[in-house]
Structure formats: structure tokens, C-alpha cells
Symmetry: C2
Subunit: 141 residues, 2 copies
């Protein structure tokens, strides 16, 4: 587990220093940017960022106060709230991504051959599957 903890700490550290974003804040922006309309419902965003809805709500409030995201009710169904990446949010992400990608590259990708990386992907998939079917569903996922 040490490796799991330290790898995450290193990546958190890089993001904090280079862009002033937490790991989860960064990934929320990244997930939104992958959507066609740079938009995702709060509940969907919570799922893909491994956040509880409550945590995400607080987090998006913060991102909104920084002008990186805005929220508006889904026009087609008022009980959904859409989180939308702003221009500034997208610019922030574009500015932040290269350094983060370099860090991940250096810490993980560069350590292995192409064949090992394939292996590693299998490993991850099996562990993820085991986690998903386990009793230990972390809060609201």
C-alpha cells in the first residue's frame, strides 16, 4: 500500500505546486473537459471523480467561486444540476495538464516497458473489478 499512498501524494504535490489545484479539483475539471458540451450532471460528476455528492457540491462551489465552473439546473428536468466548465476553467485545465501528464509519465509510464504497461492495465482492471463487487463500497459511489 505504501506505493499507492506515495504515488498519490506525489501527484497531489505536483498539482498543488504547479496549478494550485487539489487532485480532485483537477480531475473534476478534466472530466468536464472530456464531455462534448463540457457539461455533466452533479451526480454523474460525483461518480466519475469518486466523490460523495456532498463533497462534490462543496468542491464545485469552490470551483465556481474561482470562476472555473458554473452550475445551472437542467432545462429538461429541474431536479438535475449541470456543472459546466467555463472558458476560464478550460483555459486553466489546458495550462495545467502538460505538467501533470509529465509527472504521471515520469513516475509510472517511464518505469516500464510497453509489455509491462499492458500487464499493469490488466492488474488495475482486476483490482477495480474486485473493489466493485466487494462489500466495501466507499460511501456513495
Amino acid at each position: 500500500m505504501t506505493m499507492v499512498v506515495r504515488l498519490r501524494l506525489a501527484l497531489e504535490c505536483q498539482l498543488e505546486r504547479d496549478c494550485g489545484l487539489s487532485f480532485t479539483e483537477y480531475h473534476a475539471l478534466a472530466r468536464l473537459s472530456e464531455e462534448p458540451a463540457h457539461t455533466l450532471r452533479m451526480s454523474s460528476l460525483a461518480a466519475v471523480t469518486d466523490c460523495s455528492l456532498s463533497k462534490l457540491s462543496h468542491l464545485v462551489k469552490r470551483l465556481e467561486s474561482w470562476g472555473l465552473v458554473r452550475r445551472e439546473p437542467d432545462p429538461t428536468n429541474g431536479r438535475f444540476t449541470n456543472a459546466i466548465l467555463t472558458e476560464a476553467g478550460y483555459a486553466k485545465l489546458v495550462a495545467s495538464a502538460p505538467a501533470h501528464a509529465r509527472a504521471a509519465q515520469a513516475l509510472v509510464i517511464d518505469q516500464f516497458t510497453a509489455g509491462e504497461l499492458v500487464q499493469l492495465r490488466h492488474v488495475s482492471e482486476r483490482v477495480l473489478e474486485a473493489v466493485k463487487t466487494s462489500d466495501w463500497s466507499p460511501g456513495l459511489l
Copy 2:
């Protein structure tokens, strides 16, 4: 990274439910129990639990308030503080370890053959080494 995040969340969830301890609290107790005298300096314990000294100080205060650990100044050098596992703390750990070990076993170990586990260990070691020699030293390690 998703796998790294979710695996940790699942293990945190198990510990919280089954023993009412956070991941770091559990590991602090576990590290102390591995020492001959169930004792470690605060600074050493911080290093092996991947905590800042400040975080560990708050955390140990909590463990102390629960009667699981006590602190006393090192008799040989007054600027060190020793964290010492109490009887109750050891009992708590003994009661908690099996379920936690089973969870880790189920989520990781059981997913692989013996050969793959050896591979996995190599993977971890290489990533750890890369993290250690990187610019992104997470706070005070």
C-alpha cells in the same frame, strides 16, 4: 489512477466500518506494534506513515484520548517524543487486523497468481523509487 483511488477508498471503508479507525490511524498502530518495545519517535512514526509531523501530532493526540497510545519524552534525549502503544491499543490492533488483512487479500492478493504478485512487487518498487527521486516530495517525508 482510478484504481489507486478506489482501492484506497475500499480499504478505508472497511477499516471505518469494522473498527472505527481511519486508514492512517490503523497504520500508525500497526507500525508501533512492529517495534520491539511498541515504541517509535514521533518523527520516525511520521515517516513510516507518510504523515507530516503536524498531522501525526493531531492524530496521536486523538489516539491518546482513546487510550490506544501514550506519549512520553525520550529519557535519553528530551527533544524526542516517544509514541508508545498501550495494552488497549495492542488489543485493538489484534482485534482489527484479521478483517483488514482479509479485505486486502480479497481485493489484491486473490486477483493474481504467485508469479504476478512478484511482478507487482517489482512494479511497486520501481514506482516508489521514481517517486522518491522526483521533484514532488509530498510535504515532509
